[in-house]
Symmetry: C2
């Protein structure tokens, strides 16, 4: 098979209606949703079944044509955007959108990779169950993409990342072989954990075509509070207090510094922080419980009362209705939108050992300020997961270009410190194109070597998403 | 380096006091604790640090001498016993027994591989935290062995297997390279999941020398009940009911058939099932909660009341004290001991999709009875994990030898049916020597191929535990 003979062959496999070769058809697929990464493609291929995915990969592997798997195209690291050669195939999984099975006793669901996350959540709800993965893009991202990038989101503290929510996978390998690992088992000790090798591999080791995911009892009661704090250290103390009393009822623990609150209030009309003065930091926390009778609101009141008494918190508001809870969440969720309106930021998606977060924030502010004085720090994130979105906004006297020109230097300052604290330079967004060239600086050489060798083993012709995660 | 020159070199590395070459010194290491697997060894090497493990493996790899890693030697599948060649080195990790760090805010602990599980639990307790991994052998098994075999136990339903309890690993590779993956992070999306490749690989891909493990808030309240059931299907209904109401408070859901109860009462004086007549099946269940004030006993009473009202349960006893709870657990834990006293059994450690457990038990009883009539079925296990210990006892008219001669045939009957139900032939015990030759019959060919290739990649000279998990 040569590259020239490939397109007709692909048209035969998927039907010519599902082989997009015109520029206008391809437009939504060759640019990421942030419009940060732009590429070109030989074609967009839309297989309708696992067998078709297998046939497509077999052909591409024989032809030596490289393939960029794509789900909802909502990634944060450019992992699903082709390069600019115009010689890559985009493998769009959107037509694999069946929910194959729901087992409400075993609490599992078998879904195809192209299912939109919100549809998966809805199907669980209809079966009286709950699928906890939840993130901003849930209306358009796909479960296959979530698994390929090991997505995080707002329910990780209680339920884990996408990785922790998967029991089994179906994967098509680079050469077209299909691995049926679609087991709905809580335990299976029959050899190497192949599943977790594919999860988070960003489409470089195989193409996930279906998965068995875990379902849970739906929360019957929720309590939501916004808590004003004197500083970051107090957030850690409050977190430890809540874990100790509420255990697994603690479903969210989101942290925001004053500058984030200020930004939201300035740019989003109608969004207001429920404290007379903006405190140095706040936490948005939520308890939830499968049993409605056990009083999560009472528990939250008690714990926050104790925290106020010892000065860990300076003020607190507990939502008295679902509407009020939504209004509190709107503040947290508004940060991204407010950032966009305020102009470009230099972003970091980092993870630290939770107990060291306050020290890290102090040290990192100093290190950045020494390097480039006057920047604004927009620091927020899933503190309960040790995950900060550590974003920097330009100083008033800088132009946007001047500021963005500092990206590499500021990345190095922030990430070098992350490394010193034994953290991660990509907590939940993945590597993709965004962090690929930084990775070898921070990953132990032995780990890089193992990764490169595994890639070679699984994809000897390097056709699967080359240049993502690992250098070409 | 030749094999002949190896021993003096190893003595230099670990000190001659830690190189055991005499048969009497080696005796505890060359036989598994069940005395089922017997081997011989060139030497037992006891390194005292990760650097020493690295030096030992470097030498063995150069010399082409194979190495059997060993923790507490409590495995169930012969994975830590050498072959009978007398040419293998046993690498005993027992001297790596330091707890390196405890972080009560981040809820993590860094432990060396040779730490005894019970000591890890105790260290967590002393720090006001809880490490949930718990199994029969906890007084002598090591955390390194637990991770290498992805151990299960009695807390999996709520907290997961050993895999789910590990955040980071330190591993020495076959050629002596050290991978420092000791991160205490809840999130890290910087590439392939190397950690989970080593966990459960039974010492065939690398030697785990240390780990960062997760800690939890200690349970402040517990409620334990024994419930009499009309049949297996009722157990599934009760399980669904408890998950729906208690959510994560459901900490244990252990199932036992009447024959197990009968066996325990016949062989263990003083152990009595608290029902006037033995029911067809019982469940031992436990709720626990980090908060003492929220009434797990009330909740359990309510849910069991509902179950009794609809006939899912026929009787129930809730423990009124810690002593009573212990007495109920004694029945469950007594099954292994009672089995030993009753003579040899043919054992299966299987996992099924939870919702299909009752159908499987019905079908498997028929299939076994057709093959060999008159056997006694001792079926019990962690039903909440879909994990059954499906054990068979000889018919009264058979000799033990006649019965044991049927092992292969009965394994095939049980495991073929497990496969038809898309289950696993080793839920928590691993493969080792025990299931190695059966594995290719049940594992998809693609998965076997990937495993063999990964093994070659990580251990090109095949020195790490050859013949375990995979054929030589």
């Amino acid at each position: 098979m040569t590259a020239a003979g490939l397109l007709p062959r692909l048209a035969t496999i998927v039907g010519s209606a599902h082989l997009l070769t015109e520029a206008d058809q391809q437009a939504p697929y060759v640019v990421d949703w942030m419009k940060k990464y732009h590429g070109r493609a030989l074609a967009v291929v839309q297989p309708g079944s696992t067998a078709e995915v297998s046939a497509v990969l077999t052909c591409c592997n024989e032809a030596g044509v490289t393939v960029v798997p794509q789900g909802g195209n909502t990634g944060m690291a450019g992992g699903a955007t082709p390069d600019d050669s115009g010689r890559q195939i985009i493998l769009s999984l959107g037509r694999l959108d069946r929910i194959r099975e729901i087992d409400p006793v075993g609490n599992t669901m078998t879904v195809e990779a192209g299912c939109i996350l919100a549809n998966v959540q809805a199907a669980a709800r209809e079966a009286g169950r709950f699928f906890p993965l939840s993130l901003g893009a849930e209306g358009s991202c796909t479960i296959g993409g979530n698994l390929a990038t090991n997505a995080g989101g707002i329910a990780v503290l209680r339920y884990g990342n996408a990785r922790e929510l998967a029991l089994g996978l179906e994967v098509v390998l680079a050469d077209g072989r299909i691995w049926d690992g679609l087991q709905a088992l809580r335990k299976d000790n029959t050899g190497y954990d192949l599943r977790d090798l594919f999860i988070g591999s960003e489409g470089t080791l195989g193409v996930i075509t279906a998965a068995v995911i875990k379902l849970y009892a739906p929360p019957a009661a929720r309590a939501t509070a916004m808590v004003a704090l004197p500083d970051g250290q107090a957030a850690l103390a409050l977190f430890a207090r809540l874990v100790g009393r509420a255990g697994d009822r603690l479903t969210a623990f989101e942290f925001m510094t004053r500058s984030c609150l200020d930004l939201v209030q300035s740019h989003l009309p109608g969004v207001a922080v429920p404290f007379a003065e903006l405190p140095p930091a706040i936490v948005l926390t939520e308890l939830s419980d499968a049993d409605a009778a056990t009083g999560v609101t009472d528990l939250l009141e008690t714990v926050l009362g104790d925290a106020l008494a010892v000065g860990e918190a300076t003020d607190a508001v507990i939502a008295q209705s679902g509407e009020q809870a939504k209004a509190l969440w709107r503040i947290r969720e508004g940060i991204s939108e407010a950032q966009v309106r305020a102009g470009k930021t230099i972003k970091h998606d980092i993870a630290l050992p939770i107990g060291r977060l306050a020290d890290f924030m102090r040290d990192c502010e100093t290190a950045v300020e020494v390097t480039v004085p006057g920047l604004r720090f927009l620091v927020f994130g899933h503190l309960g997961d040790g995950n900060l979105h550590y974003n920097l906004q330009r100083a008033p006297q800088m132009t946007e270009d001047e500021f963005l020109g500092l990206t590499g230097r500021l990345n190095t300052v922030v990430h070098d410190l992350v490394e010193r604290y034994r953290g991660s330079i990509s907590a939940e967004h993945g590597v993709g194109q965004l962090r690929r060239d930084e990775l070898p600086r921070y990953k132990p050489a032995v780990a890089m070597q193992m990764m490169i060798e595994i890639k070679r083993l699984f994809d000897s012709r390097n056709i699967l998403n080359p240049g993502k995660l690992l250098a070409n």
